[in-house]
Amino acid sequence: MKAARIAPPSEDKRWRVIDATMRRHGYHAHALIETLHATQESFGFLDEDALRYIAATLGVALSHVYGVATFYRRFTLKPRGARHTCVVCTGTACHLKGAPALLEALQQRIDHDPTNPPVSILAARCLASCGLAPAVVFDGKVVGNLTPDLALERIEKWLHHES
């Protein structure tokens, strides 16, 4: 018997990717690692809401989900060493619209900053926001139709206002 399907933790469109992954595997418990991968790629890390949602939807114990998420180094429960996360979509639409250049520009900006800024740049496979391509998620907020300059401008705000 499967538990009744519950709603994703937020309105964030990235949950569609996670839902699609679980659906593709028939909501079987063995889809756990695949689902954690999809979540890690889309959000950059696995927070408590995500773990609870996945556990409830796949009908797996909370402690089991936590155990798997902490066993593998590829999964992280917190944004990697940074206060801000910047997830660049590298799905097909975004790729065609210039995601590689965005990623390159952001990475260059952060990597070459001697002050070691509190920003982590991540790449996701698809954010399910292809209409906005190329899209980047800045601290959970999806921003579309970006150019490298516009994306850098966003980052600069974080770096200078410390917010």
């Binding site: 408590e48 089991h64 936590y66 155990g67």
Partner: protein, 241 residues
């Protein structure tokens, strides 16, 4: 019980024995009163082969291998040695590694005198630990109203995980992390008191081989564990309605 049980014959320590194909080496040894030391194994729980204490020498098809008796099904014509100088040496070494890995201080432990780890060290003649102690930084969670988990004393046998998942059906416990960071957790690594799936049944307390899980209100050497409920609960669970 299906009528077409296939019987296999094998030899354990110069004794010709037979068992049905579903049985493990350990099951058959127990039936014939052949002692094999165990730590993670517990009658009524599924086998994991985590502690390697029950390693035996298995010769089959002209090859001798070390196999955990609790998790190895019997095969026709197996030749098994359950006790040899080599096995004794390995078992002592495993125990020493367990002692070196955690913080096992018997003198202040609630389970002193009733601890399976301590008991095995005595019965297998472990006199000292040849490996450097790790003295890991581990925590104690006493948030639960009745129970305490002291990770210093945990040997990660996963009995608590299995009894909670297999018998109680709550699966509150599991294991997190890897290598030296491994530890047992309740739900999302929350304080035990906040673990919403825990029913507070206390089965984990009583299956724990050491003083890692104990009940509040007991002092040094006062925690006696009772496990007689386990084979009964397993039998009742498996009985057809």
């Amino acid at each position: 019980m299906p009528s077409s049980v296939r019987v296999k014959t094998l030899r354990i320590d110069d004794l010709d024995v037979a068992g049905d194909e579903q049985q493990t080496i350990f099951d058959v040894a127990v039936e014939h009163a052949i002692p094999i030391p165990t730590l993670c194994h517990l009658d009524g729980l599924g086998a994991v082969g985590a502690c390697r204490m029950c390693l035996v020498e298995v010769t089959s098809a002209n090859q001798t291998r070390l196999q955990p008796a609790c998790a190895t099904p019997i095969e026709e014509g197996m030749q098994i040695v359950t006790n040899s100088p080599r096995l004794q040496e390995y078992r002592r070494m495993i125990l020493e590694l367990l002692f070196a890995e955690g913080n096992h201080v018997c003198a202040v432990c609630v389970s002193n005198g009733h601890c399976e780890l301590q008991g095995l060290a005595q019965s297998l003649g472990m006199t000292h630990v040849r490996f450097p102690y790790h003295y890991p930084q581990r925590s104690v969670d006493a948030s639960h109203r009745r129970f305490v988990v002291d990770h210093n004393r945990c040997i990660l046998c996963t009995r608590c995980v299995r009894v909670c998942a297999e018998i109680e059906g709550a699966h509150t416990w599991d294991v997190m992390g890897a290598s030296s960071q491994t530890q047992v957790i309740t739900d999302l690594n929350q304080p035990w008191a906040e673990a919403e799936t825990c029913t507070g049944c206390g089965k984990c307390i009583h299956v724990c081989p050491t003083g890692a899980l104990f009940e509040k209100g007991y002092s040094v050497a006062e925690m006696h564990k009772r496990r007689q409920f386990l084979p009964y609960l397993r039998a009742m669970r498996e009985r057809e309605p």
